[in-house]
């Protein structure tokens, strides 16, 4: 490219050339040189003097600047600022993610907790049920009439009460879990209809404009049109 530039500037052959090193953040930047050539190289050899540069990178603003390229080597450092559209997109995306978190993650976590609580209550009910089975076994093996009387009139009724309580607790926990699960499913389905923000890089369109992009087989003309719908 440098050769092409120098060759196309025959009238200025008396000037000497300079090499400009571009240190642009981010690294995937592009730039348009003198409103004509779109390049991605980090090093460019130009005739000394003023040259116009339009720097751009995805998600960043187009920065127009004129640089005075001296003979010899020189370095230009620039950090491209984020575009307004990208910042708005980031804000919308954060808002979207937060809403998704509230509508999906939080209910799911609560449902999970309720499920865990239900499992805990089921374990309690199972334990109480096992105790009743143990009581039945104890009845068969009871060694005396007194032991049987105590078992049937005191121990078993107490364990039956405990089982009834455990079963009620389980039923309540299962009901609450079902309610949470239903709410979670509803919020999940409802949130699925909410569109995710999409980033349209307006700066890219502005940068593209109509320019010549050199390539291995001669390059192409590239055009872009920007229309601000907000106006």
């Amino acid at each position: 490219m440098a050769l092409a530039l120098i060759a196309s500037s025959g009238a200025l052959m008396a000037q000497s050339a300079g090499t400009l090193y571009l240190k642009i953040d981010p690294a995937n930047f592009m730039y348009r040189l003198d409103h004509q050539f779109t390049l991605q190289k980090g090093e460019v050899e130009l005739l000394e003097g003023l040259h116009n540069f339009s720097f751009w990178a995805p998600q960043r603003k187009v920065v127009d600047t004129t640089l005075n390229v001296p003979s010899g080597t020189s370095t230009f450092t620039l950090r491209l600022p984020f575009s307004t559209e990208y910042l708005v997109y980031q804000r919308d995306l954060d808002k979207y993610r937060n809403e998704m978190r509230v509508k999906r993650l939080v209910p799911a976590v609560i449902t999970g907790g309720a499920l865990l609580y239900t499992a805990f209550k089921f374990a309690g009910m199972k334990k109480a049920h096992d105790q009743l089975n143990d009581d039945r076994t104890a009845y068969d093996a009871a060694p005396s009439p007194h032991a049987i009387t105590v078992l049937k009139t005191e121990t078993m009724p107490a364990h039956k009460d405990e089982f009834d309580k455990a079963r009620t607790n389980f039923a309540v926990a299962a009901g609450i879990t079902a309610l949470f699960a239903g709410t979670t499913a509803y919020l999940y389905l409802r949130s699925a209809k909410q569109p995710k923000p999409v980033f349209h890089d307006a700066e890219k369109l502005r940068f593209d404009g109509l320019s010549w992009v050199p390539g291995p087989e001669g390059g192409t003309w590239q055009g872009g049109l920007t229309w601000n719908m907000a106006r």
Binding site: S144, P145, A147, K152, D164, R167, F170, T184, Y188
Partner: protein, 141 residues
């Protein structure tokens, strides 16, 4: 999520349904030591009779004699028991629990001919009594 919900609810109902309280203390009557036991009789009447007791060849007394059999095969091996009998109406107790060795399950009582004598038989196990078995005998000449 909907699938999980559809799976979760029947699972919870199934779990709750599987663990039912099917223990009814009043319906437990299978242990022979249970005062409410309703199985095969633990104490069976083998025979009864009215017998005249003689002394020196002369009749001195008339007694009712009942022979009962304790079904130890219904008890857990090693169960320590004593026979305990009560005469109905009078409440007279024939407690053999302190007698060693236990007499051969026989009760003697002075009787009046034509009168029915009913005895309640129980086993005393660890200081408590089993279900009572009632057997009556009419004193006949």
């Amino acid at each position: 999520m909907k699938r999980a919900l559809f799976f979760l609810l029947p699972l919870a109902l199934c779990l709750a349904g599987c663990l039912k309280d099917d223990l009814n203390p009043a319906a437990l009557t299978s242990n022979p030591l249970d005062p409410d036991y309703d199985g095969t009789a633990l104490i069976e009447l083998v025979s009864d009779t009215t017998r005249i007791v003689y002394a020196g060849g002369m009749p001195t007394d008339t007694v009712v004699e009942q022979t009962v059999h304790v079904r130890t095969d219904l008890l857990a091996p090693g169960t320590d028991w004593k026979l305990y009998a009560t005469l109905e109406n009078t409440g007279e107790i024939f407690d053999y629990s302190s007698e060693i060795p236990v007499p051969q399950e026989r009760l003697y009582h002075h009787v009046v001919m034509g009168t029915s004598y009913c005895f309640h038989y129980q086993l005393k196990v660890e200081f408590s009594l089993t279900k009572a078995y009632r057997y009556c005998t009419v004193a006949t000449p």
